[in-house]
């Protein structure tokens, strides 16, 4: 894990006990996690943070939030975080404090980071109908079965649920089913690595 110069500067200030006493450090960490995970407009109006220069406070707040996000993005373990923060001259106790807070919020952080981006549609259900064609305007008699398939789909990008409908012949459906089985099998094979 690597931090930018700005974030490192913020963490150096955070590690300075003259700048941030212990209580202020803890409440700033809480504020950083809260502003990322709950509501970003939560201010820095904790009574423990009253005595600190607002510029320094905002700098440290941004640095802490950056470090939290970066650690979540890299899926950093405790040792990586500690090495990174040791570079910023933090003492053991503060690093430990950060790590416990991070572990506590790790799941929420992962959910937050996982919800950024796009994903293809998810099929949630299938319904089908068998129909039998007798004739069409081109052919006098066709006498062919065909399947009408509806895929119920969940779209995580927009939250809507449009359905995918198509019709196919027996062979096409068999082909589709075979391919899906192949996919499932290769997934299972991947689990046995």
């Amino acid at each position: 894990m690597e931090l930018s110069a700005y974030a490192q500067g913020g963490w150096r200030l955070l590690g300075d006990p003259r700048c941030f006493p212990r209580r202020s450090y803890a409440s700033l960490l809480r504020a950083a996690f809260r502003s990322l995970l709950d509501h970003p407009h939560a201010g820095l109006d904790d009574p423990d943070l009253k005595d600190i220069d607002p510029t320094v406070l905002k700098h440290c707040h941004a640095a802490a939030a950056t470090c939290i996000l970066e650690a979540g993005k890299q899926n950093a373990d405790i040792s990586a975080i500690s090495t990174c923060l040791e570079d910023c001259k933090l003492d053991k106790e503060r690093i430990e404090q950060f790590c416990t807070e991070y572990q506590k919020n790790k799941d929420a952080l992962e959910i937050l980071l996982g919800s950024i981006g796009r994903s293809p549609l998810h099929i949630t259900d299938v319904s089908w109908r068998l129909e039998y064609q007798i004739k069409s305007n081109q052919l006098h008699k066709t006498y062919q079965p065909s399947y009408l398939v509806t895929l119920n789909v969940e779209n995580s990008d927009s939250g809507s649920h449009p359905d995918v409908r198509f019709s196919c012949t027996m062979e096409q459906l068999q082909d589709l089913v075979g391919k899906l089985k192949d996919a499932a099998k290769s997934l299972e094979r991947a689990t046995q690595m």
Partner: protein
């Protein structure tokens, strides 16, 4: 034996038996522990055999017997060659227990060593992690997005994804102009609150961080390479590079932009402005902006010349041509098209007029410059003629007194040539030291340059070394982490090391013992040899004495007595020796017997006998109880 016991107990612990730490040898194992260890090993070796057996010894005696007999049968089925029965578990002797447990531990599957043969390294670990994750996902059923708990949200994703939308952030920092400090300290919102939508906070922060990091990496690469070679301080280097980039960016602009014949143009296409804009904003995107801008300026020019009515129309037309999609649909299409056509016609006409005017202006300016050039040339010619006129006038003035004037002129010429010579001498006088100083300074500069280039190469090699060291450190860190992970995945290796160490220790001990045995053997042999030689000497001495005495015995009475005593002495000595030998054998036998007794006592026969008796009593009681219950029923 202690080493073997330690290894055995270690293996039992690995198989899942909670052997307490104070137990150090097989002798200390209680029957409960022996049964549990045997069952756990059986379950690990062959689950079908071990599954129906309980690892806990039941309190009832008959149930105990049944379990122990089942265990014994299972062990025999596994191929245990020795004598095994319920007594092996319940009234165990140390020796039998050790043999049985050794057999079971030998049979334990070595799955850990198989796992060690998997592809090591990062890709293997990654594949395993992916496999585990997929397995976890396959194991959980699908849940509608609204009902997902936090754990399910991590597995199956949240209900709604947010796009990666970022916005520029203002990062508060100490230092800088006081106005900025005032803003940071007062009105500036905290950084996570800056994006207008709360979903934009994490992407914006991540983007800002990635930008800073990549900028730092770029700068390090730049400064490490051409930056150091330029021998400039960093700020100056950056300034020069910026200037070069600006010039390079402006060059195509100058070529693309036609030279303006008018005076200072009022539009935004001022070259100074452009320079500023591109100097600050970088190189990108000027190609597309140029034609649009020029059209806009043209429109602006028009507005200066037209009355407000047309001006308004022009602005509308410009707006419509620039943003045709913005105009609403409610306008009647035909009317709009007509209007548009008329306006465009007007525009085209006006543009043509402007072009015409511009051409005229250009022509006029061209003729103006031509005329100016002609005037300048005329003035030059005039100046030359005036000079010639002045010379001739002086000559005419000097003409009447030609002789004396010639002499005067000659004097003047000589004086000036003398002055030139003296000046040349002076110049030489000054020039010598200055030249020497110049040479000296040049040499100094050369040496300084040499020094600086040496330093430069040193710095560069240092940079290189530090970079390679950092890379090496990173690589080693990675390797260390990977090895630690592998080590955690292979707990077997530790025990293997312990095994090999103990085996080596045992081998060393055995070698020492063998040496000692060899020494004792050599001693014994020497002793034997000595005894043999002594016995031979004795025999010989005795036969010689015997013969001598026997010869004299016939004549002398005293000698006959002496001969008798000798015979008696010899016999007694032989008896003594015989007795000593007998004592040795008896002592050996005693020692053997003592060993046997010790072996028997170590098998704890009285204790196990007591236990068997008490168990038998309990069994009888249980039987009586059961019989009574049966009778009641």
């Amino acid at each position: 034996m202690e080493e073997v016991d330690k290894i055995l107990i270690h293996s039992l612990r690995q198989a899942g038996t909670p052997v307490p730490p104070e137990v150090q040898s097989v002798r200390d194992l209680t029957p409960e522990l022996v049964v549990e260890a045997a069952v756990r090993c059986l379950r690990a070796v062959r689950p079908a055999l071990g599954a129906p057996l309980s690892p806990l010894l039941p309190p009832g005696i008959s149930a105990r017997f049944r379990l122990a007999s089942d265990l014994a049968a299972a062990c025999q089925e596994l191929g245990f060659g020795g004598d095994v029965g319920y007594q092996t578990f319940l009234y165990s002797s140390e020796h039998d227990t050790r043999r049985l447990l050794l057999f079971l531990v030998e049979k334990l599957p070595r799955d850990e060593s198989e796992r060690g043969a998997e592809p090591p390294g990062k890709s293997g670990a990654l594949l395993r992690a992916i496999g585990a994750r997929i397995q976890e996902q396959l194991g959980t059923p699908w849940v509608p997005p609204a009902c997902r708990t936090a754990r399910l949200q991590r597995l199956q994703g949240t209900g709604q994804l947010r796009p990666f939308v970022t916005c520029p952030l203002v990062l508060p920092q100490s230092g800088g102009p006081p106005e900025l400090q005032e803003y940071f300290g007062g009105a500036a919102p905290p950084v996570p609150a800056q994006p207008p939508l709360s979903v934009g906070t994490p992407p914006s922060l991540l983007e800002a961080h990635a930008t800073q990091l990549s900028a730092r990496h770029d700068w390090e690469a730049e400064w490490g390479g051409p930056g150091l070679a330029s021998r400039l301080p960093p700020q100056e280097y950056v300034g020069r590079k910026r200037l070069r980039a600006r010039l390079r960016a402006l060059e195509p602009l100058r070529q693309a932009c036609p030279p303006r014949p008018q005076g200072p143009p009022p539009g935004p296409l001022d070259p100074a402005w452009l320079q500023e804009a591109f100097g600050a904003g970088g190189v990108g995107g000027f190609g597309g902006a140029l034609p649009k801008g020029s059209r806009f300026t043209r429109t602006q020019h028009l507005t200066h010349e037209q009355d407000p009515q047309i001006l308004l129309q022009q602005i509308q037309a410009a707006a419509e041509t620039l943003h045709p999609s913005k105009s609403p649909e409610e306008d009647a299409g035909a009317r709009r098209a007509g209007e548009e056509a008329a306006l465009e016609e007007t525009l085209a006409r006006l543009e043509a007029e402007i072009e015409g005017c511009r051409g005229e202006v250009r022509d006029a300016q061209l003729s103006l410059t031509q005329a100016e050039a002609e005037v300048r040339q005329g003035r030059l010619v005039l100046g030359g003629r005036e000079d010639a006129l002045r010379l001739k006038a002086r000559a005419v003035e000097l003409l009447p007194d030609a002789e004396s004037n010639m002499a005067k002129l000659q004097l003047v010429v000589e004086a000036s040539s003398r002055r030139i010579v003296s000046l040349a001498g002076q110049w030489e006088r000054h020039r010598g030291p200055l030249l020497a100083e110049y040479r000296h300074l040049r040499a100094l500069r050369d040496s300084a340059q040499l020094e600086s280039s040496r330093r430069l190469s040193e710095i560069r090699s240092l940079h290189e070394r530090s970079r390679s060291a950092a890379a090496e450190a990173r690589r080693k860190e990675e390797l260390y982490k990977q090895l630690v992970a592998e080590l955690e995945a292979l707990p077997r290796d530790v025990s293997r090391a312990v095994y090999t160490q103990r085996i080596l220790e045992i081998v060393g001990n055995i070698r020492k013992q063998k040496e000692e045995i060899g020494k004792i053997l050599v001693d014994t042999r020497a002793l034997q040899k000595e005894i043999n030689s002594l016995v031979g000497k004795l025999e010989r001495t005795f036969s010689v004495t015997d013969e001598l005495l026997f010869k004299d015995a016939k004549r002398d009475e005293v000698v006959r007595k002496a001969y008798k005593y000798l015979a008696a002495l010899h016999e007694n000595c032989a008896q003594l020796i015989q007795t000593i030998e007998d004592t040795g054998t008896i002592q050996r036998e005693i020692r053997d017997l003592e060993e046997q007794i010790e072996g028997e006592t170590s098998a704890k026969p009285p204790a196990s006998l007591d236990r068997i008796l008490s168990d038998c009593r309990e069994l009888r009681e249980e039987n009586a109880l059961l019989a009574a219950r049966a009778r009641h029923a």
